[in-house]
Amino acid sequence: MRTIVNIFHQLGRWGEPVIEGIIRLCGISAIIFVFGIFFFVFREGMGFFFGGLDIVEFLTSPEWYPTSVSNKRYGVLALIAGTFSVTVLAMFLAVPFGLGAAIFVSEFCGPKLKETLKIVIELLAAIPSVVWGFIGLTVMNALIIDLFNVPIGLTMLNGGIILALMSVPIIVSIGEDALKAVPDSYREAAEALGATRWQVVYRVLLPTAKNGLLAAVLLGVGRAVGETMAVLMTTGHAVKMPTSPFDSVRTLTATIAAELGEAAVGSDHYRVLFIIGVLLFSITFIVNFVTDLVIKGIREKA
């Protein structure tokens, strides 16, 4: 310990700037990496994006036939619809459960149960997505076939449920933080006016913490949009405009994961997969950006 202190003393006037420079580099590196990734993904797709791809057809046609011999078609509308439908279904299930659990953990349960629940919820967040996919493929698949009497269980419903289970831990922990940030004096004031605990929750806490709770939901959405392996394994992977929760669908992420290995490097197919990557990147970027704006809204008000 002493020697380290001595070294710093000997570095003298050089020590400070060197250390400051290293720390500065660590801070800036995140920006460099993000732009780097965006640049390289875009560079791979660029050749086709500017030469040959009909961008309107790309975004509006549901026909995805990248390997057809006579007539290759690159329409991702069905894939966008797949991602969108699975995400919406997942949020439809995860938001009530997640926010309900956050309210319970933060406001209603005792300290012991609270600790246990928080540990278990973090554990839930730590399960690898391929394990979730495996559960969807075996347990959920059989369950859906049995319960709804449908021929196949690898559907939008299956993917939505698995994604919901994966998003709930994020929604719970961020949502609980948002509720914890509400000053206790508000609860005390409302209770002293005779409000019951439930009235405190929906008349005081929800309005006060609404930005934080919205941020929790949006982070859950981000997770659901970006998730790959679990949806690849559970949704059935069929390119199809979904019409019911019992349809198989395919998502943007799963398409990249499944096809990139097969596409010849430098081919149109290869490049269009990178363009899908850019599209995904943009979607998650927008979701995160909106989340940031919302969170900033909280800070300014507080």
């Binding site: 005792g110 300290p111 004096s185 508000y186 609860r187 005390e188 004031a189 409302a190 209770e191 002293a192 006016l193 005779g194 409000a195 019951t196 009235q199 008349r203 005081v204 309005p207 006060t208």
Partner: protein, 262 residues
């Protein structure tokens, strides 16, 4: 204490052998006290003597901290509020509380005042004109109407502290409480704010029984009719404010008001 002198009066709060523990620590020891209806009663004593704890017993807001044990009786409006069949919302409707730090809810001035009514009559949809009247009456009673009549939509947490504290008093009034508990209501305010809140208390006395905890002995002398001196969880002396300050019966009281400790 001179019980015979008080016999003709009616009491709005009476405690009998009240004991309270936070975990293993006993904060109140055999507290038996009668608070006269319609007067301002001051609770004084050094920090940690239990005066705030006693105050918080009267609307059971102490129970928010899980490890509280209470024995004995507190009778408010002829009912022991520690009975099993007591409804907390109903109790807190009758016994309002003003806190040390002004704590208006982070909603509009208007909604703050109407909050109590909304909480207590969830089902009934009130007419806008009714609630408008209620808000105006409450704000007029605390002399905030002229300052705030154009700012009813403003978020209450952005007001000046003095206005916030008066708003916290005003929001109790639509519930027509019988007792108002005040826990050092002026300690966050400046001299001018303190004076206006004290004047307000004197105006409200009579309609309401007011109990005020204060560290400020001069304030206790200015506003209270009766005074209770507490030390280490026990009531040492309870009498008319002038008597307590001019001719204290107990040497501990005398030492405290002369500033030998506390």
């Amino acid at each position: 204490m001179s019980p015979d002198k008080k016999q003709s009066k009616s009491y709005s709060v009476e405690t009998r052998q009240l004991n309270l523990w936070y975990g293993d620590f006993q904060a109140l020891i055999n507290v038996s006290v009668k608070v006269v209806d319609g007067l301002i009663t001051g609770l004084i004593g050094p920090s940690g003597c239990g005066k705030t704890t006693l105050l918080r017993c009267f609307n059971r807001v102490n129970e928010r901290y899980g490890n509280v044990t209470t024995t004995g009786e507190v009778e408010i409006l002829g009912k022991n509020i520690y009975d099993a069949d007591v409804s907390l919302p109903e109790l807190r409707k009758n016994v309002g509380m003003v806190f040390q730090r002004p704590n208006p809810l982070p909603i509009s001035v208007y909604e703050n005042i109407i909050f109590g009514l909304r909480v207590h009559s969830e089902r009934r949809i009130r007419k806008r004109s009714d609630t408008d009247n209620i808000v105006e009456t409450a704000l007029r009673e605390v002399h905030l109407w002229d300052d705030l009549k154009d700012q009813l939509k403003v978020k209450a947490t952005t007001l000046q502290l003095e206005q916030q504290q008066k708003l916290c008093i005003a929001r109790l009034l639509p519930l027509k409480p019988r007792v108002i508990l005040m826990d050092e209501p002026c300690s966050a305010l400046d001299a001018k704010g303190t004076r206006t809140v004290e004047e307000l208390m004197l105006e409200l006395a009579g309609q309401y029984t007011i109990l005020i905890v204060t560290h400020n002995m001069a304030q206790a002398r200015r506003v209270s009719n009766e005074c209770i001196f507490m030390l280490l969880g026990e009531i040492i002396e309870h009498s008319h404010t002038e008597d307590l300050f001019l001719t204290p019966q107990n040497s501990k009281t005398a030492d405290y008001i002369e500033g030998r400790y506390g």
